[in-house]
């Protein structure tokens, strides 16, 4: 088995359900040890992609590699997979459930129980260990499921919308744990439609929209490259100079206007036009774009709402 240095590698992957194309000609790589976000609005193809990586779905075209080879059971067992649709054995006791999930992946029962109890302690669920899962709240069930996902200390974590359904405090707890795994060398791929979360956590981001990849890059490099994309301005006087081919759209934040520029646009030309128009320019500032802005610039407005609230989700996708 050749080691490609990638935990996950997708090449030219296409998957359709009837007439609906869920994922189209998708190339995607997750380097070992990295923490990578799969971003996009609901129905953009995130879950379908993850399910193909986990061998639950098979691509119509293209290839999926896990640790440099076919995603067979042996390799999938090295993955901790938290699916989007949460499932538990409702009648089982919490500790038995996580122990069982360890057991089917080769963790001895005693060891699994020890680890499970340690995890429950860390998540503040110790007193629930011997309670049936159905007696827990949704959020607590989700934490139990997360414990089940990591009980076998996987090399790769694949988390499908891990933060949805958790309150802000527990989102922070989970974020902390994910960071912890990353610092210990675990490769992490998670999907989310929450841009803020991704912005805080990810080294790499992959943006999908309408079944297609629109961006796939290192977040820092991406932000640096996109730095010239957003200009914050404050001015007094005429605003006709804001009407130009360089500007894709303008957002009013209340105290400033944010000019979202088209790719490759020359911000100097706008400044030049402003000075000539006679407006008094108080501020003309190249700002670091939010991931949200970058995504909108590449995917087009109207796909993602502000502050990570998705709008215009594509129906029928998985």
């Amino acid at each position: 088995m050749k080691d490609t240095g990638f935990a996950i590698r997708l090449q030219g992957v296409t998957k359709s359900f009837g007439k609906h194309t869920a994922v189209e000609d998708f190339d995607f790589e997750v380097p070992r040890g990295s923490i990578c976000g799969l971003l996009g609005p609901n129905g953009s193809g995130k879950t379908t992609t993850i399910r193909m990586i986990m061998g639950i779905l098979h691509p119509d075209e293209g290839s999926v590699e896990l640790f440099g080879a076919n995603p067979d059971v042996t390799r999938r067992t090295r993955v901790g997979y938290l699916p989007e649709e949460r499932g538990v054995y409702r009648k089982m006791k919490c500790i038995e459930f996580v122990t069982f999930l360890g057991e089917i992946r080769g963790v001895r029962r005693a060891e699994g129980k020890k680890r499970g109890l340690a995890w429950l302690e860390r998540l503040g669920l110790s007193e629930w260990a011997d309670k049936k899962i159905e007696d827990l709240s949704k959020g607590m069930q989700q934490k139990i499921q997360f414990v089940g996902t990591v009980i076998h200390e996987p090399e790769l974590l694949i988390l499908d919308e891990p933060f949805s359904g958790l309150d802000p405090i527990n989102q922070d707890v989970l974020e902390e744990i994910v960071r912890d795994f990353h610092s210990r060398g675990t490769t992490i791929l998670f999907s989310t439609h929450l841009m803020d979360q991704a912005e805080r956590l990810c080294e790499r981001v992959c943006l999908i929209s309408n079944a297609k990849k629109v961006l796939d890059a290192n977040l820092h490099e991406l932000k640096a490259a996109e730095r010239k994309g957003v200009v914050a301005v404050e001015f007094v006087g005429p605003d006709t100079w804001l009407d130009g081919p360089e500007i894709d759209r303008i957002e009013d934040t209340g105290k400033e206007l944010r000019l979202i520029l088209r790719a490759g646009a020359d911000h100097q030309a706008i400044l030049h036009r402003g000075v000539q128009s006679g407006a008094e320019i108080l501020r003309f500032d190249l700002v670091e774009p939010r991931l949200h802005d970058i995504f909108v610039r590449h995917a087009g407005a109207g796909v993602v709402g502000d502050a990570g609230t998705p709008v215009g989700a594509i129906p029928g996708g998985a």
């Binding site: 399910r51 986990m54 061998g55 639950i56 779905l57 059971v73 999938r76 067992t77 993955v79 997979y81 699916p83 649709e85 949460r86 499932g87 538990v88 054995y89 409702r90 009648k91 089982m92 038995e96 069982f100 999930l101 057991e103 089917i104 992946r105 080769g106 089940g148 996902t149």
Partner: protein, 415 residues
Amino acid sequence: MLVNVWAVIRREYLQRVRSKWFVAATVGGPLFMSAMIVVPAYFASQGSRDAREVAVVDGTGVLYERLAPQLAEAGWDVREERWRVNVVTELREAADNNLLGGFLLLDELTLETGEGILYTKDRPSAIRQVTLRSTISRAALEYQLEQQGVDADAMLSGGELRIEMLSEEGADIEEPEFLVAYIGAFLLHMVIMLYAVAVMRATLEEKTNRIVEVIISSMKPWHLMLGKILGVGAVSMTQMGIWLLSGVLMFTMGLPMLISARPEMASMAEVIEFLPGFGLLALFGGYFVFGFFMYSALYAAVGAMCNSDEEAQQAQWPIMMLLIIPIVMVTNVIGNPSSTMAITLSLVPLFSPILMWGRVAGGGVPAWQIGLSFVLMLFAIFAIAWVAGRIYKVGILMAGKRATLPELLRWIREA
């Protein structure tokens, strides 16, 4: 790899055995069964307990000695009263003063017709009337037969038919036990269906709550299916083992205790005559295990190809039919165990557990046919597991609508 199959078996087993349902069915089953036998018998005997002594006025002088032991056994409290003038008036007076429950009058006519007269204030229950009537007529018959020099005991106990086989075939046939054949066939039908459907439900539940995605990511679908079947199978063995054990205890210890405590219920001991021997019990177990494997694999496949209970209800019909056909045929097959149709049908693997059992228990089946049925079932298990495993593999992860027949065939080919 077998470690995770073991984990699935263990989980399935413990979850089920610990459930309230299991405890209720396992303990409640034998309780219900023994209640079905004991309670009516108890009430039947209870009816006599407060009845007072009955005087028997034997005008024949030969009937009382024959009647008394049998009536006492059936719970009657009897004493003999000599025939004399005014005996009826005296006894009637005693009854009026509640010194006597009643009196039975037997005379020369009784010896010819079996007719007797019971004077009583309270009408006896139907069952007591029957015992009394048959005891009287039997005593009269015994007397008459003895007068003719006939062995009354042998004649009245139903005679005897010895069978001498003219051919080698069937020499090892067991004694016919029709009741065991019928009841056993229905029980097999019930328990195979009960536990095979449990496999379907377990599969469906895992599929609908999506836990299966996580489990399949760590083990082969085939292993999960195997674990489910073996887990439920182990539960069935435990449950039936407990039932069997409590049955054995009931007949070896419970029944003698009951009879010694209440001698009037002694007739219940006759039930033991109808019980199957060890050989038949083992055969029952064998047909259950093989039948369970065939049907549970089929039901697992049904569970895997459906997305809801409603869908599964419909999709399980073809398999349900396979279990119903032998039940429809069983009377015929037990009645004519050597007909070509009976032999053919009982060798069809999916029908064998019920039909071959019925034939064997009913008598008239050479050993080679029993052996052949197990060999054929073994082949069938492998064939069914192959097909069902393929359907399971594709279906378990499939969402959306239920698969159509052409789709199923494609799954089997491509999986």
